[in-house]
Point group: C2
Chain length 349, copies 2
């Protein structure tokens, strides 16, 4: 309950929210001056600024940015679309984006697709309606219409988490296939020969498919059998599904020496299930994941996995975006940025 002496009621439930004009009138200046006072680096005298600040506080005024952006033709939005908000790899990327946007005056508009390109298309349109100044996507697989909208939007587009063959604009990512190949090679060098793979069904999860592709390629190159592939559950596959999948795998190919999983989550599920069945990891079976989630470093035994710079992907994507937006001053940033990945060998292999 604020108490005010003026005509309007002061309990915060004023019929209409105050506008910049209300502030201007109260401070005895023009609206333009208020606008200036609210923007850094504008010339407003100290005394005036104080009167305006006071008026703003008295009225409880909050700038209306949608009105402002219509006029200034800058919305201050950056859109980002990730497959899932619940997957800590992608939420790390979202964090990286937000953090890199901090202080730029740009705000993140976040959406998630549930790994569906159709949903992605809807989201692209919904975001584009808000006129973001740039857009960050996960992966390079889009519907034709989605892609067309992106191309025509006239804003920088950054595809991440992948290295599309035919990128729309800019890219910050890595080859999921190559990463998995590296993991296979590393483990093969340790003497493992009978590899199994656990992943989700079908191609909805493009990164998952690419990892499986890398698995097969690497084994073929090494002359090892590459057919022990379990596809289980709709991506993203859960811990529980990882547990079930490893059971299937052990039934079909009981002599499997090492199970590679599409992500640490399914790998963890598999690991726990093996322990539940009294198997020793890595002695009876080795297990490795992908993503280097928190859990991989903490579980027992600690999990071998591929570390991916999720946060860095987000940061770099946002950086590239802001450079391009404010850009022109400095050089245009590189179109393609390859991010690092590395095998983290731990106790599970």
């Amino acid at each position: 309950m604020t108490k005010t002496a003026d005509g309007k009621m002061g309990d915060g439930k004023t019929g209409e929210a105050p506008t910049m004009n209300d502030v201007a009138r109260r401070a005895g200046v023009s609206a333009m001056t208020v606008s200036r006072a609210l923007k850094e680096g504008s010339h407003v005298s100290k005394a005036t600024r104080e009167r305006i600040t006071q008026a703003i506080n008295e009225l409880g005024y909050v700038l209306d940015q949608s009105a402002g952006s219509l006029s200034s033709r800058r919305t201050g939005f950056v859109a980002a679309i990730i497959p899932s908000i619940n997957n800590s790899n992608f939420s790390d990327t979202a964090r990286g984006i937000t953090d890199a946007l901090e202080g730029t005056g740009l705000q993140l508009l976040l959406g998630y697709t549930n790994y569906s390109v159709e949903r992605e298309e809807e989201l692209i349109e919904a975001m584009l309606r808000r006129r973001p100044e740039g857009i960050i996507l996960t992966g390079g697989a889009h519907t034709p219409r989605g892609r067309r909208m992106l191309e025509q939007a006239g804003i920088p587009v950054i595809e991440t988490w992948d290295t599309p063959a035919d990128p729309i604009d800019k890219v910050v990512g890595f080859s999921n296939g190559a990463a998995m190949e590296l993991l296979v090679e590393t483990l093969a060098a340790k003497g493992y020969e009978r590899f199994g793979y656990i992943g989700g069904t079908t191609a909805r999860d493009t990164r998952g498919s690419q990892r499986r592709g890398g698995f097969v390629r690497a084994l073929e190159r090494l002359g090892l059998p590459s057919d022990r592939v379990i596809s289980f559950g709709v991506p993203p596959i859960s811990m529980e599904q990882g547990a079930q999948a490893v059971v299937s795998m052990l039934e079909r190919w009981p002599d499997t020496q090492v199970a590679l999983c599409v992500s640490d989550l399914s790998a963890f599920g598999a690991l726990m299930e093996c322990q539940r069945r009294g198997m020793k990891v890595p002695d009876d079976i080795a297990i490795a994941g992908f993503g280097d989630y928190e859990i991989a470093a903490c579980c027992h035994p600690r999990m071998t996995t591929i570390n991916v710079d999720c946060y860095g992907i987000g940061r770099q994507a946002a950086l590239k975006l802001t450079q391009t937006i404010q850009g022109m001053a400095t050089e245009e940033p590189e179109r393609i940025t390859q991010t690092d990945f590395r095998v983290v060998e731990r106790e599970s292999t």
Copy 2:
């Protein structure tokens, strides 16, 4: 590369994005009719609608919603502020919100505070600048200015994940203290007597503090010692910190029978650390968490915890919001909604 015959270039890189007037001209109607054609439930003849749709496709037009909302005084935004986007409990809530918003034409504007009320205040202001039609917060602890802004915003405010003593407007949550009390009682009934608690330092994480409060209260009521409290690390505490904390606990109070943790994540870290040290859970020490994360159901041994309806909190909050926004038609929804929680007894206790 679209090919067009008109003056403008057709490769999607037209200097200026087309506006509704461009569409109108091309379709031979007024802008108003285009606007109607883009809105469901407006009277536009089939033939006209088709011509407009075609013009839109040819031009690659996308509605500018910021302009629209200025005019219609409805932004179509709902703001939500959560402590962390990386915590699956809260991202579940965010999912619940998004899902409940689906089809309402409302879009989520998501921000996270990193458990800082100062950051929350900044976020509240940033979001309010976008004129959301409602706002969903986590917890009932805000800065005075943050609270004032919320009260004056003139939009429905929903506080979640908690039951504030003095709510701003509406609430969807549960008592974190009561939930922890229930857990203590349940375990005490099984015969445990020497309880320890692992949580983060200080009050930044209000829900964490309340859980600890419930722990102490319940034990006092039962006449059991309530001083075995380890505060370790800045909230939210990680798996790794949980592991370290349980070590401290065992050093100080080696005969602790059961360790309750502020969340499943720290509980999991503790569980793994105990196994690493060759302790049997629950025989040598029992462990329980809070939140019923995916990991609790999947680890070995499976973890006893408190299940909280994270997704439902989000869903119900968003539902309450949309009801209030479109509202008036039906009854105003209840101000306070208590959500369920329950003890899930598993193998770790």
